[in-house]
Symmetry: C2
Subunit: 230 residues, 2 copies
Amino acid sequence: MKISIIGTGTVGQAIAARLTQLGNEVMLGTRNVKEKLSSDAKDSYGNPSFSEWHKSNTGVKLGTFEEAARFGEIVINATNGGSSIAALKLAGAANLSGKILIDIANPLDFSKGMPPSLLPGLNNTNSLGEEIQKTFPGAKVVKTLNTMWCGLMVNPGLIGGGEHINYICGNDDAAKAEVKRLLVQIGWKNENLLDIGDISGARASESLLPIWLRVMGSIQTGVFNFRLIR
Amino acid sequence: MKISIIGTGTVGQAIAARLTQLGNEVMLGTRNVKEKLSSDAKDSYGNPSFSEWHKSNTGVKLGTFEEAARFGEIVINATNGGSSIAALKLAGAANLSGKILIDIANPLDFSKGMPPSLLPGLNNTNSLGEEIQKTFPGAKVVKTLNTMWCGLMVNPGLIGGGEHINYICGNDDAAKAEVKRLLVQIGWKNENLLDIGDISGARASESLLPIWLRVMGSIQTGVFNFRLIR
């Protein structure tokens, strides 16, 4: 399957590598392809530059936001939440229309210090997932994978035998079912994919970020998730 | 120990019964004692009236908010979040000063339909826990127990061998340590009491309510919690 990922950070890279490994054709979308490939700068977390990563992931295509959105049968939003709407507008509403748009971003606001809060207007009674759905009504937005470290997104078996939760929500049941199949391919167990309803469920899953960040601060690692106990 | 609980709903009742069973002297605080004891009305969830409950829990004292706050060496806020500040003001700042005030309430806003959001001004960059601490600077506010059904608060062993999380936060380390001792008495294991820092951690634990409510809607029971997997 042709899958495109908007955003070339560590999250986009992790997903691109895994989806390629699973036999999909993957294109990463970026603002400026030439600049992205020529920069040697490490990211703000000290990770290698994109061009360095790309040398060992040559199977992953790179295009503009627009080229990527046009390429993918499924499009994944892996930009940072504050830039998502702008990046997706550059990708082009027409290129997203009729497609599944998997939103894994979070509307984090770092402007008020650490730990970040959620962006004004995109919390509590609204969410990034809903805002994307409203802005691109032709896309079938499915929110998932936004509540864990990217290493776990693509390899849930890394901890606890993979027995931990990944929330999923969206307005289109067929789109959710297809995303679930993709998640199972990646390594998630069906019984750990917890459907929390329509896209307004993104209010709830994005609201997990504050506690996720506090727990990370408390246990000093991001390699954790939560299991539902009942 | 003398412990008072502000609020006589099912949460207050569950905690009062458990703390009494453990040998504490417990007083529940209410707005109007006479009215509370004379009413036969079931609550909005169809639970028996307070007076009915009290007949089989005669060891639990009942007083006004003020009498209860004066009585307790530790005070527990078990009112609904939208009424907490007003109820605690009636309890009296002087009666709370120097004491541990355990806040287990959530600032739920039902005015916009179901599932509820969090109250304006008490979410994202603020919280009920912080607002209580700001309003009653003499009290040592400790936020805990607000992220699960009340039956689990007082009997965590009911599911998963008690292996699930209870968050705790507050500005006073000695107060948190004392509350942890009380929680262990109740049945919580020390290793499941996750300290998420000062009282601003309440932003994070109160932010769990949206996902808690969605999960309850999805699995059709409130008898669940989350285990940290790492």
